[in-house]
Amino acid sequence: MEKVIELEDVWVRYGNQTILEAINLELKEPNGLLGIIGPNGGGKTTFLKVLLGLLKPYKGSVKIFGKSPEKSRDLVGYVPQYKGFDFDFPISVWEVVLTGRMSHTGFLKKYSEEDKKAAEEALRTVEMFQLKDRQIGQLSGGQRQRVFIARALATNPKLLLLDEPNSGLDPHMQDELYRLLDRLKHEMAVIMVTHDLSAVSVYVDRIACLNRTLHYHNSREIPAEDLEATYQCPVELIAHGVPHRVLEQHKGSS
């Protein structure tokens, strides 16, 4: 069985600024939800871009399902961070979701029946099929997020990457999102990055902390030192609102 992700000593720089430092990560399990938390500017988006092959590390090796990120694109679904989008763009929900099939359809070919079936199934999974003819701007924030998840699912991914999918959603919509991810994680490996600690809810199977360096222990609890190192302040200050089962008992207090 191939490892889902294998990162070895990955370094990323913008100019002479180091954004990611000596990242090692091995993810073997083909399903489950990995939550990666870290402060704004901690390098979460950069990290996902490395997994997607959008950014080349200047040092280190990146393997997705045993191959380079470029070669595994038909196995990876991507839900980008929610910003700078032109929601006035003349495109329908259906057309958006179909673009998630391009890695299968191939260049210069029309979308096949199989592509359309996959897009329909993806839209049904997120319960948005009935709105497939809407223009993308005529949806609520939560509905739009589900369309972008459907676009990623249309790829039929074995690995799903979500960049701050919970931002801009109200608590009720966030909860719906987590329940959706909870269903999806049985069929694929899911990675969700977020700066929002309270998002690492009961649904997360594994947690990592990312702020330039990555702390990962293949468990659903975060050692308090890791959290402190990531957020650079005492756990008492950051733990507010974090579900207690997620935080490991503070060594000093136990």
């Binding site: 470029e70 990876v76 003349p90 958006v96 998630g100 359809t105 210069l108 029309k110 979308y111």
Partner: protein, 274 residues
């Protein structure tokens, strides 16, 4: 009115108006939704270098513009994405560089440069047959390219990063789109001239966006608007004996103004009624 149609120059002008409207309707839609108006304007102005080169070499300036505008598209597309300076500065520099080259070439050309003004401001009433054939050929290339690459262009314009993740070579595709824009500019030059090209690329597309949420329909409605308005413009410019290119742009702007204000008022009423 109908006896006008027996004049060859009027027939040519109408043919040019239709050929130009097809190109600008289709490609203008991409220019508007991808928000690349500025780089398109840059390609158009830089291609004045090609006009100058044509005069200098003593060939039909259209054959100077064609390669020059393609080159301008490739250089601008590459430099604006790859260089360290901000994209709009890079475009601004190349924009004026191309025009400066054109001025120097024209200056170096011995004798007088006939019709120079028609390249800057267009004159649809003097389009020769041979240019119509060139416009037709370019239209066929443009329509063919968009037919073949429709799904890729749509994805590229909507979300470039996601399209890259889907394994589409988006950098090359973007350069290709800029080249198609360059060809469109060549089609439009005789109609409104280099200076006013950008109006034909933006106004019909922006106007049609108000009537549909579908890119393909946007293109078709743009073509219809463009044709109707440029034919009206030709008629007015002939009747009033004023420059045709500028008249077409004025009619376009007026129609756009009326439609935009009218729709806003209508929608404002609907909102306040509900």
């Amino acid at each position: 009115m109908f006896d006008l149609l027996q004049y060859t120059f009027i027939q040519n002008a109408l043919a040019a108006a239709i050929l130009a409207s097809v190109a600008c309707g289709i490609i203008g839609a991409y220019v508007v939704v991808k928000k690349i108006v500025f780089i398109s304007g840059g390609i158009a102005h830089a291609s004045f270098g090609g006009v100058g080169l044509g005069y200098y070499l003593g060939i039909n300036p259209m054959y100077g513009v064609l390669p020059f505008s393609l080159l301008a598209a490739l250089v601008m597309g590459t430099v604006s994405k790859k260089s360290k300076i901000p994209e709009d500065s890079a475009i601004g520099i190349l924009w004026s560089l191309g025009m400066a080259l054109g001025v120097i070439f024209v200056y170096l050309t011995p004798g007088y440069a006939p019709d120079l003004m028609t390249y800057l401001f267009g004159n649809i009433l003097t389009v020769p047959r041979i240019d119509l054939y060139l416009m037709l050929a370019l239209d066929l290339i443009i329509v063919g390219a968009v037919y073949l690459f429709y799904k890729e262009f749509l994805a590229l314009c909507f979300d470039e990063e996601f399209t890259t993740v889907q394994g589409v070579p988006t950098e090359k595709l973007y350069l290709f789109l800029l080249c198609i824009i360059a060809l469109t500019i060549v089609v439009l030059i005789k109609v409104v001239g280099i200076i006013l090209v950008i109006a034909l690329l933006t106004i019909p597309a922006t106007l049609s966006r108000k009537f549909t949420n579908n890119l393909k329909h946007m293109m078709l409605i743009s073509i219809a608007f463009g044709t109707a308005i440029s034919v009206t413009g030709i008629g007015l410019s002939y009747a009033l004996d004023v420059p045709s290119g500028a008249t077409i742009i004025l009619v376009l702007s007026l129609v756009y103004g009326f439609v935009a204000v009218g729709m806003d008022m209508f929608e404002g009423r609907r909102v306040s009624n509900s």
